[in-house]
Symmetry: C2
Subunit: 256 residues, 2 copies
């Protein structure tokens, strides 16, 4: 039984891609068959896993617009149980090209159906927007993870995002559940970070993951060499944080 | 003679809003009449200057879609020479609503024309995307400032952004010039930050502003109380960094 996750937040730079890559890698290290789908035209998940964009002849764009089957665009990664469906800059055009299509919110769900039985987990990295591509991801998902930086603007946008998810649950995907709010890039030396963390925990209570992701330079260093942090520095705090998150998710789904 | 700037980068969380607010505030402190326009549905520039979204009855959305004149939506701020044209979440819909209009890329330029003579500087904060609203901002601008975090994903997206600007210069706004690439959130203790800074300086040379914005907790603290950093802590490094940037821009335009 495959569980499909979307990693969503319209606020930019909160750690969506970083969380998608490193959660997927941690699940793969625990030997769960995992597919990472990059639905952001920036293609950061794709390059963050070491894929050279010049070697990407077909991407998610071609599945959406040219109806190429998803399994034809999948690449291997350095981890045996992790594969990736890459993005491409063409995706910028997909939003406009799909606007006039009937049932445009369901396109991605239909594309995913044939491959669901091949994986235990599918993780979808989204762009910093609540446009048609992100709506498609949410409609195709069972659960959603919301990364939030412990900063003021990220906190402000949370209410709006939860409203949007509620509308999707009511109109397009009643099955969709919020798996959790993930606090990212926490620097516990900063007063403001700690203040916002307790505000979020008090307000959203059990909706917030136990495990927090601390700010850790190994995480961004790993991206510059195209590796998940667990392959770049297995002893780093970043690798431990994301492995603990993976274990928390497995527990929530009675899979440990 | 009013100079119109767009603050643009499709990469999220690189400091677009922070730079828009604090550059505008620094110019206002130097007694240049400045208007900050918030073109991002997240409305972070609006709340970052202390405007309560519940008091915003008309926003930039109403100018674009209902043809309300821009001067009717302008709010005062704590600084005598700084005003703001607020955003609203409705802007999320503007992109779709404007898609079928003739000359949809020129709408914002037409809205701005009547107020150009009221200001010395206009600063436009954009959302993390290269969609229709950002294209509208670039078409209406004389110059563009590109904030870039000294991190791998932000560096990767730079080439794509420069391509897009070139297309706009060729097809829609031949006057548009790149005022500079602004390095933001630099933590000089981090090896990766220093490595990427020198890569950007070597590659883009004089296109990069002399002044760098360092990571400084007073900058985000100021946002949580709705003030530019110069009003929150005038002696902070953040306030000095943005004031030096304002002076560098004035020098580039022979206005000191
Ligand atoms: N825990 C962390 N510690 C240190 N740096 C981090 C951490 N998480 C993310 N980063 C860095 O912060 C930046 C933003 O993260 P990331 O790109 O994952 O955010 P995003 O939400 O995917 O951004 P976008 O909105 O552009 O898609 C990146 O440069 C990344 O390397
Ligand atoms: N120099 C700095 N020092 C410390 N924190 C900073 C600095 N610049 C920005 N920040 C913080 O980093 C976060 C991202 O900045 P900001 O929101 O300005 O980026 P943005 O590019 O406007 O994001 P978006 O893509 O969502 O519009 C904010 O929480 C802000 O407070
Ligand atoms: Mg991302
Ligand atoms: Mg912003």
């Amino acid at each position: 039984m495959c569980i499909v996750y979307s990693i969503v937040n319209q606020k930019g730079g909160v750690g969506k891609t970083t969380s998608a890559i490193n959660l997927a890698a941690s699940l793969a290290v625990l030997e769960f068959k995992t597919l990472l789908i990059d639905l952001d035209p920036q293609a950061n998940s794709t390059t963050g896993l070491g894929i050279n964009l010049q070697n990407v002849y077909h991407s998610i764009y071609n599945c959406l617009v040219d109806k190429i089957p998803l399994q034809n665009i999948i690449h291997e990664t350095e981890l045996k149980f992790l594969q990736i469906a890459p993005a491409h800059i063409d995706l910028v055009g997909a939003q406009l090209e799909l606007t006039d299509i009937k049932d445009r919110e369901l396109i991605f769900k239909q594309i995913m159906e044939p491959i669901l039985n091949l994986y235990d987990f599918i993780i979808i990295d989204c762009s910093p927007s609540l446009g048609l591509l992100t709506v498609n991801a949410l409609v195709a998902s069972h659960k959603v993870i919301i990364p939030v930086q412990c900063e003021y603007f990220a906190l402000e946008g949370l209410g709006q995002l939860l409203n949007t998810i509620k509308i999707i649950q009511q109109r397009l995907n009643p099955e969709l559940v919020i798996e959790g709010i993930l606090l990212t890039m926490l620097d516990s030396r900063l007063r403001l970070n700690n203040q916002i963390t307790s505000e979020i925990r008090n307000h959203f209570e059990s909706l917030v993951f136990e495990n927090i992701i601390n700010r850790n330079s190994k995480i961004s260093e790993a991206q510059s060499v195209g590796k998940p942090v667990i392959l770049y520095d297995v002893d780093s705090k970043g690798a431990a944080n994301y492995m603990n998150l993976a274990k928390e998710i497995l527990q929530k789904n009675n899979l440990t």
